[in-house]
Amino acid sequence: MASLVGSRVERKEDGRFLQGKGRYTADINIANQTYAVFVRSPHARAKIKNIDTSKSLKSSGVVGVLTGKEIAEDKIGGLIAGWAIRSEDGSEMKVPANPPLAKDVANFVGEPIAVVFAETLDEAKEGAEKVKVDYKVLKAVVDPADAMKSEAIHDGVDKNLCYDWLLGDRKAVDEAFAKADKIIKVDLINNRLVPNAMEPRACVVDYNSASEEITLYTTSQNPHLSRLVMSAFGGVAPENKLRVVAPDVGGGFGSKINVYNEEIVCSWASKKIERPIKWVAERTESFLTDTHGRDHVTHAELAVTKEGKFLGFKNETIANLGAYARVFGTVTPTYLFGPCATGVYVIPAAYSNVKAVYTNTAPVDAYRGAGRPEATYTIERLVEKAAMELGIDKTEIRMKNFPTEFPFKQTLVHTVDSGDYVAGLEKAKQMADYSGFEARRKKSEANGKLRGIGVSSYFEACGIAPSAAVMSLGCGVGLWESAEVRFNPTGQISVFTGAHSHGQSHQTTFAQIAADELGVPMENIDVVHGDTDKGTFGMGTYGSRSLTVGGIAIVNACKKIVAKGKRVAAKMLEVNENEIEFKDGEFVALKSNKKKTIGEVAFACYLPGQRDEMKSPIPEGDEPGLIESSFFDPANFSFPAGSHICEVEIDPDTGNVKIEKYTAVDDFGRIVNPNIVEGQVHGGIAQGIGQALHENTQYDETGQLMTASYMDYTMPRADNFPEFNLGFTCTHATSNPLGVKGCGEAGAIASPPTVMNAVIDALGGQEISMPATAEKVWKACKVMKKSNAKAA
């Protein structure tokens, strides 16, 4: 039987999604449901002096109005930060309380203050308008670079500083810098991004007063984790009385990791008003209240020799957490960022220092790549600048500093198990026709255009798991993953996974790997996820972990099925277990060549009644049934890597940047389904190009979000992209039996510096910040023209 792993199987999900048959949270309606509308702060920072709900309560159709006062009285807990980060001086991070409904003070525009439930959505909206909140507006802190000098917005958080974190050795770095021929410096802003999942957040809550059970349908990347948090920290209901279902979810990108205010409030309130509740975010609410991504201000330096060898690296970053620290908010700019900031290079001495600050803006959390795009942008801008200043070819300087032996002990934290960075860059150069670039540049010049080429080589630590590692870094839970494989008596198989698919095509990928393990057709396998009442437990999907952690749990559970199958088959075929070979779905007795299919064995495991057949096929010590589960916790992260090359052409008259060519060569270890992996890479690159050229989240000085709709926030569109030129190299991961590495975030990690390096190359090395909008580029072109004129 040909292996399914590695083949371009069509996605099982396509039919359902393309025909509009997906079932999303907003599609779910419960008889007798009420509609929730939240009253939100119109101010970035304000004292809540009084809330008058009397008019709202009298409004037509209104069933109830609740505020922060009631939620505090019921002792419902707030939103949490999932990782404890310590400052350089050893002190614990400072985390303010984040109540589900703000009671005394509102800290960002859109923060929920009260909630109105009514018979219809219109009545709920009308009721919400009638809640009168008396605010005392305070001066907002908006700019992260100024936050430490501004008035403290949270009690007990001095200088608005959550932590001042250090990774690495300052003294060693100073010594390295003292030996350098040249110090390369960059000042960078990693622009804030709004995740913009296609499906806005939503929740539907159904409380059963007889069983006292709450069912929460929600847009989550990790339903079990949501249940855990709501139960352990929110105190909404004990875990066994709380069922969380995340049905089809239309994209997350990190923004649906958190348990949000609305889910806690509606779950709590459903019990209180004894009615089901439905809440669906409007797009404006998504812009204002989904956790945002990135938002760093960085100064970084690279110490180099004349020959282009890297000696030392320093990184001083201010990371904006927004108003509150959320689940991955504190780790994204530290352990997900700092270690990767030295990139794919041998750099003997390095440190990353990050000051995380609170501001009166939407909370910032993980967004596709989470920390690693920021890291890659930092080092890859430095490397490109070093090449330019030293007059060394940009690919050559990279090759010079790549590690050539693996495992590679990276300067800060990670030991990278496998990779071949030279092969990746060589392949990318070839596919991009790197050597033909100068001729193309001349041709563009002859047409009055500027052409630039940019390279970026990246690695990233993903497949987030190794529980021991993440817990030692401050994570509140171990990040293993679970799977259960259930063989039904008649031969179909249900594979339960704790990972969650919201665009990652697990139904297909996981079915491929289980089919290979069990030697059955994929069609016999159903992948089940997203319901705490079905699967045992799971950590969900983020950090490119689904296949490398969750997929391996499936493999291991399948191996247990096969192991039990062997014992049963041996008994059925009346041979010793070690005389049985399992191949292509059949248990074969080697000597006699007698066989039983895995379906027959499964059937036998359920003890079908057979008249006159007295002998049980279940060996002594085994139990009936064929169900196995596995919890997988790998020994290490997985480390995908690669090199991307981008070529742009700039029209100096308008500043328009056109991406002429984009080449990506990635090493994801073994690839299960090339179609799906290519799709993930396309999506990631698109998001990265969005960050580099288009997406520009802007708050004004009072903390109002200026770009809160698609009229003002530029989402990249298909016509902004060329056809992506993808290639792969392959070194197997050694930390899992499939040899796979994560692929979900790589595109978004590698592409922003690749594009920016190309733009800056076209601009003759002139620094320009993301997004490189037409006007910014036009201005840079004018400066360039002037300095060229002077030189001539």
Binding site: D122, H694, T707, M711, Y713, A774, K779
Partner: protein, 261 residues
């Protein structure tokens, strides 16, 4: 969205009878519906005019192209007759917003709304259009009176827009990357006796750039306006573009338009 009374009259008379100070006509709804949803506007009566047959369609004679008020952008963009008579108009319509907007949005809605960054108003100005309403004919120069303001009286209905066929014309647009409205749109039309350069997106309302028009009237070539500085003092400056950038784009696209003619 607040509830309202929905009407769908079959003729213009009924439509205008229904109109009051608390009503709005509904054409493509591309502006009206979002503003209702966001609560920026509320009306007692919404008068859907899409069922009025007379308001839709394209007529081309030797001298003019007349487009009915509820004619969609997509229909203009794919009209062979308009392509023959005023190709610039086809180009303009084909580059409005995105496919969804073009399949809903109408010329009547566009000019009645008079968004400062809409495309059609510049065509009206440059092509000496006459706006036919249910009570009068208004020359374009008198129709667009200010930001989101027109000469239309309450309840007055646009029936059609009559464009003068020029000798040559072209429309050049620098789209807003987010909305795809015009950051700058320049419509250049060369008529027998004069050249009109109409600009949208730059100021609070569409206008004719007199200096560029004059220069091109005496010599219709891009070299005639080469290096001409456009005054940016009244131009919009916002997060999408500074006035300086807009001024640069006006002179640049005027040249491009002339070259494309």
């Amino acid at each position: 969205m607040k509830s309202f009374n929905y009407h769908a009259p079959k003729d213009v008379k009924d439509a205008s009878k229904l109109a009051s100070s608390n009503s709005a006509f509904l054409a493509g709804g591309m502006t009206t519906i979002p503003s209702l949803k966001l609560g920026l506007a509320t009306y007692k009566d919404i008068i859907d005019i899409k069922n009025i047959k007379k308001l839709s369609g394209i007529k081309v004679s030797g001298k003019s192209v007349t487009i009915g008020a509820t004619t969609k952008h997509a229909e203009v963009a794919s009209s062979k007759e308009v392509q023959k008579a005023i190709p610039a108009l086809v180009k303009l319509a084909g580059n409005i917003g995105d496919a969804q907007v073009r399949n809903r949005g109408t010329i009547g809605g566009s000019i009645s709304n008079n968004d400062p960054s809409a495309c059609y108003p510049s065509a009206c100005m440059a092509l000496n259009a006459v706006i036919h309403t249910n009570s009068r004919k208004i020359p374009a120069a008198k129709f667009f009176t200010g930001m989101f303001e027109t000469a239309l009286k309450k309840g007055e209905l646009v029936e059609a827009v009559e464009f003068q066929v020029p000798e040559k014309a072209d429309y050049q647009k620098h789209p807003n990357p987010a909305s795809r409205y015009a950051i700058i749109g320049v419509f250049v039309a060369k008529h027998k006796k004069e050249v009109n350069v109409a600009v949208t997106g730059a100021k609070s309302c569409v206008y004719i750039d007199k200096d560029l028009s004059k220069k091109l009237s005496s010599s219709f070539s891009s070299s005639a306006i080469e290096g001409m500085k456009v005054d940016d003092s009244e131009m919009n400056s916002d997060m999408h573009a500074s006035s300086e950038y807009r001024a640069n784009l006006v002179s640049l696209y005027a040249k491009k338009a002339v070259e494309a003619c």
